[in-house]
Amino acid sequence: MRLDDYIEFEANERAERRRLAMEKSYAIVDHLESFQHRFDERVQGDSLFGSVSPSIFVGRANYPNVSTGILSPVGFESDAASFETSGAWYDEGVGIEDVFRRRTSLLNSNQPADVKVGADTNVHDAWDGFLGVQREVAIADRPVSVEIGLDGAPEIDFDVGRDDVATPTGPRARAQSADLAENPHVPRPVKKTLEDDDWQAQGAMTYLYRRGFDVYDINSVLSAGALGESASRRLVPTRWSITAVDDTVGQYLRGTVRDAPSVDSVQVWRNEYLGNAFWVILAPGQWEYELVEMKAPGSIWNPDPESGMWLSSDREGFEGRTQYVDETAGAYYAARLGVLEHLSNIGRQAKVLVVRHVSDDYWGPVGVWQVRESVRHAFEGEHGESETFADAVREVSNLLPVSMADLRRKSAMVAGLQTNLTDFGVGSSDDD
């Protein structure tokens, strides 16, 4: 095909994809209507309904006066666990539409709350009523049977935000009451972090991670204000708590490889999921990490098909970073977690460049779990090796929609890797 024909062909392709994406959104709207039917069937008398709740949601609008809710898959109670965002979604291979379907099947029965709950009572002491039930749902390790009294009918407004961290949300309703319909099962380590009100949040999160809890579980415990020093406990908006947990666990893992030997070859790992391709390049040397994102025209954050590739990047050196990232938001911490889990597993440190290519197949933001799981699973199976980091970048860049020159401008690691003085014979004999 001639180049100009090809360009036209490509443009048509993009238009077609946009049309399909629109259709997909309509499918979601249909779906919400079916929710209404299911809901009407379930609600008894005075807007009271029973369901099984796998998780909670704390909004961030109007912080610190937030809306805090219990999520329940009305009409799909027997399968409630599958409605909770987790690494299992990746294993199951859910698609973007599946994610939207699941999230929009969850009714968010919520109440307004001050994140500290009250002037005299903090979250720690608020065991009764709606907040108490919400916390039980958050700390339980399986979905909990609840009875919720609603104040009026659910509002069904479907709005696909462009939030890269939290998953999309479904119908919402103001709750008057919530009661437990069973005694929830809470794992012992979670009880321990809940009861120890003299334990800083970061330490408690790390403890749970080391006891085998995944970041998804820790996230709900943190979000419900169920760990940390008693005076500091508060409700944490779901979006913030996701990144706080990724960052905290990442810092812990980075500590585990701080004195570890380096990987001994340049390795390229790749994974692709939900229209997002991830290239992870590991190179010998001490810890240094950068995430470079390229978002195609027509993808969710870069909707104008005529605009160019959208590039963003953030990085850290051996000592980590103290400020929240500027350009890449929660994806930075989620990808870093996936990389550090791998390095901690193999007991090595490395210089790590992660390149995320978001294609225009990514029509709806599903949440940052997608980044975390894609990077975690990138280290399965085969990988490529190359002589030098520069070779690896050059080969990868051939498959990316940006020039090497643009990549060098955007990426500090592509411009040059940080050496240390030891590489030049500065003898500091102890490294501890």
Partner: protein
């Protein structure tokens, strides 16, 4: 035994040059000078400082080593006005440093020097180019580079006999060109290296703007920066490892 009186500004200049890299350090109380050598935890930047006995109003020492928390010591020095004198005296018994500033007494608990990272050795790097530049020029180049990027190139053009401070950002470029007339001295040689601005900015903060800075530079090699403070009786050498393209 250690007992000294020093002007607050000289003490602050000395501490600032080290605290940009480390939180705590060993101070060697040699007979004829006070000396600090430290490398940052990532092993990327190093400082070597000496302050001659002549820089003090009075100075008596016999070669001991103390470990200090730098930010604590800086805070105390910050309590003094520029013209004030700071009295320092080591209590060997309690291992505390007594500090007196205009009627204010402060007793600083010291850190066991053995618990502080070992001091680095300075290698004999053969760096082919030497540039002597005013602190203000360096500052200007670093500030401009910081607007577009987080790394910075230092380069000598041998043919034109110019020194360049350069940065490439996402879309914008910066190049500060300094010719022989702008420089105090230039000994040209093959020199072109890239550095992290995080480090260079911090080092630059400690360099007085009226200082003459001697820059020793090579190709993808560490840079050495030398300058003096305290009327020429304080000497600082920084060394910074480059970012390199591995091809």
């Amino acid at each position: 035994m250690f007992q000294a009186i020093v002007s607050a500004s000289t003490l602050r200049d000395a501490l600032d040059s080290v605290s940009v890299l480390v939180d705590e350090c060993k101070i060697r109380l040699n007979e004829d000078e006070l000396a600090i050598r430290a490398v940052d935890p990532a092993n990327v930047g190093m400082v070597d400082l000496t302050l001659d006995a002549a820089a003090f109003e009075s100075y008596e020492a016999d070669g001991g080593v103390i470990g200090v928390n730098l930010s604590r010591l800086e805070d105390i020095a910050g309590m003094a006005n520029t013209g004030d004198l700071v009295h320092l005296e080591l209590d060997e018994e309690t291992r505390k440093l007594h500090i007196q500033i205009e009627g204010l007494s402060y007793t600083l608990a010291l850190i066991d020097p053995d618990s502080i990272r070992q001091e680095p050795d300075i290698p004999d790097l053969d760096l082919p180019a030497t540039i002597v530049v005013e602190g203000t020029h360096l500052d200007r180049g670093i500030k401009a580079a910081d607007m577009v990027s987080d790394h910075i190139g230092l380069r000598v053009d041998e043919a034109d006999e110019t020194f360049h401070i350069e940065a490439e950002g996402d879309t914008d470029d910066v190049d500060l060109e300094l010719g022989r007339d702008d420089l105090i001295d230039l000994s040209a040689g093959p020199a072109d290296s890239l550095f992290s601005l995080d480090y260079l900015k911090d080092m630059n903060k400690a360099i007085p703007s009226d200082a003459e800075v001697t820059v020793e530079l090579g190709e993808e090699f560490p840079v050495k920066l030398h300058y003096e403070f305290g009327e020429g009786m304080g000497h600082v050498t920084y060394m910074l490892a480059p970012r390199i393209q591995s091809d």
